[in-house]
Amino acid sequence: MGRYFFRRFLYSLLTIWLIASVTFFMMHAIPGGPFTREKAIPDEILRVIEAKYNLDAPLYEQYFDYLKGLVTFDLGPSFQKVGTSVNDLIVAGFPNTAKVGFFAILAIIVIGVPVGIVSALKQNKPLDYIVMFGATLGVTIPSFVIATVYIYIFAGKLGWVPPFGLRNAVSYIGPMIALSGYSLSFVARLTRSSMLEILRADYIQTARANGLSEYSVIAKHAVKNAVIPVITYLGPTIAAIMTGSFVVERIFAIPGIGRYFVESVTNRDYTTIMAVTVLYATIYVFMVLLVDIAYALVDPRIRFEKEKA
């Protein structure tokens, strides 16, 4: 198994390299550059700027410089924020995104999964209807609506929380709700339907026929099987949350990384775009790897398949 995951790790690195390369060449294939403006910059000035950022060098040279930068974690200067390096942007932004993201993910797992389980156990009872109604709202209301309403009520009307920033513990609640709302609801629904299916499985009947307590039937025999699809969903979700949400960070004025991503795209800030893309890809690829490891831990069939491979 160890060997299998080592190989998977190498594949992950390969995937990241591929994504980094594709992003690089696509960026350069699109007409226009970071210094293209509606009001054209005089040619000679443009040439000076391009020379400064090495943009006049042959493409392959830029490419290798870029790869070298990636490997040494030197992501180069930002083209738009003069005087700041992309490293600075990430170091300043990522921890904020990660902190909020961490709590959002925690909420998704710690609330979403149990709520789904309880809902399944109370199928077609009032509690189930209430939960499913809430979960349906959760997946349909966009995060910016949740965020805006939240700020309007709790910061504006009641004044319980600061309207923006991450100044104290309570200020995390709003971004956490806005970030996790969709996925939490989705996980609750996914867990519920998966649980309902597992509860009809033959081995659950066997567990009952063997006289196991209802607690063991549910908590031990049903839940472990029921969370398998949830694990699949969580991988990409965690990656997405950890790389920040433009909308949520914007509304709550969180100096996170999500906004740089969007801003950098509109600004053609090559180095930032690529850095954030690679960051996203890295987190994504490793989350997928983590999901696979989690799978193998939960499901022996997969564990044995991997061993054979």
Partner: protein
């Protein structure tokens, strides 16, 4: 008659679906003596599994064992017990194994984990002792290298081996009664024979009484002492193996015989499936459930459910043909009514 282990009287089990009440079992009565093997046979949908699950207390929502049903197990009416009290009986006094061994074991836990859990649930013994017991049981049911195999997961066993594991687990707490619901139906023919052989062998080696459920009379021919024939949620005929095979007194039983392959009969004797389909349990017929398909159906069969006639001490049949006023056809005899 203190030899009775299980006595089911007037069992009625229904499922309350949005379409209405599905009357899966409609007043079934049968009994099992200690140390004996009882076969329950009938076509698909005749209520065999529902009867067994009712005995186990495993009827799930929206199903319900109806008021007035009595399941007397060693002097206790199981229908009056709470689910918690029943769970102490399940796996301990009464065990059950199911049709599909491929899906009946939990795929994410090892055999050891699953067997030890059951043993420790019903007996206060150490994990080590429970494991030893589990290994012993695996050996009993013919799993080679049980010490090693017990570490394996269900997917590492074939269907036949999984059914052996199921049997080992079911017997691990020395139950008084084992219910096997079509234990061989999902298996290959050769494996079927092996599992039946195992059950026959176990029958002589352990004191557990057994109920075997099947839709195939041929399967239970040699292993059963008594047989219950079910149809449309009711009991059509009960008797010893001899009675059911050599002196069937119910047209449905006769039909079942004609629909099973016989080794010694020459190939030209074609199998005769029973024509038609089982009754609609949402709107069960007022009369005999078999009336729509019975070659001997009479007017009264459509109007009134036949009472149970007693042919001999253990042999009963619910069929109007046994009534003294009925026309004489075939080998059907005239008998006394024992219950309405």
């Amino acid at each position: 008659m203190n030899n009775i282990l299980l006595e089911v009287s007037n069992l009625r089990t229904s499922f309350y679906s949005h379409l209405g009440e599905i009357q899966a079992v409609r007043g079934a009565s049968f009994q099992l003596e200690k140390g004996k093997v009882l076969g329950i046979v009938g076509e698909s949908g005749s209520g065999k599994s529902v009867s067994a699950l009712s005995v186990m207390g495993l009827i799930q929502e929206p199903g319900k064992v109806k008021e007035g049903s009595v399941i007397n197990f060693l002097g206790r009416d199981l229908t009056s017990l709470s689910n918690k009290a029943m769970s102490k009986i399940r796996g301990n006094d009464i065990s059950m194994i199911f049709q599909d061994p491929m899906t009946s074991l939990n795929p994410v836990y090892s055999i050891e984990n699953q067997m030890v859990e059951v043993i420790q649930r019903h007996q206060t013994i150490t994990k080590k002792a429970a494991k030893e017991r589990a290994v012993e049981m695996l050996k009993l049911v013919g799993i080679p290298q049980p010490e090693k195999r017990i570490k394996n997961y269900p997917h590492q066993f074939s269907g036949g081996m999984r059914q052996r594991v199921m049997i080992a687990t079911a017997l691990s707490c020395n139950p008084q009664l084992l219910i096997a619901d079509e234990p061989t139906t999902a298996l290959d023919v050769t494996i079927q024979a092996q599992i039946l052989e195992l059950m026959k062998d176990l029958k002589t080696r352990i004191s557990t009484s057994i109920i075997i459920i099947t839709h195939d009379l041929g399967v239970i021919a040699e292993i059963c002492d008594n047989i219950v024939v079910m149809y449309g949620g009711t009991i059509m005929e009960t008797g010893t193996e001899q009675d059911i095979f050599y002196n069937p007194q119910n047209p449905y039983t006769v039909g079942l015989h004609q629909s099973i392959p016989k080794m010694n009969v020459d190939e030209k004797a074609r199998l005769v499936p029973i024509k038609g389909s089982p009754p609609d349990l949402l709107h069960p017929p007022i009369g005999c459930p078999f009336a729509g398909r019975c070659p001997h159906a009479m007017q009264i069969c459509l109007e009134e459910q036949p009472p149970t006639f007693s042919i001999s001490e253990n042999h009963t049949s619910a069929c109007w043909l046994l009534h003294e006023d009925a026309p004489k056809v075939g080998d059907y005899i005239t008998a006394e009514v024992v219950s309405e």
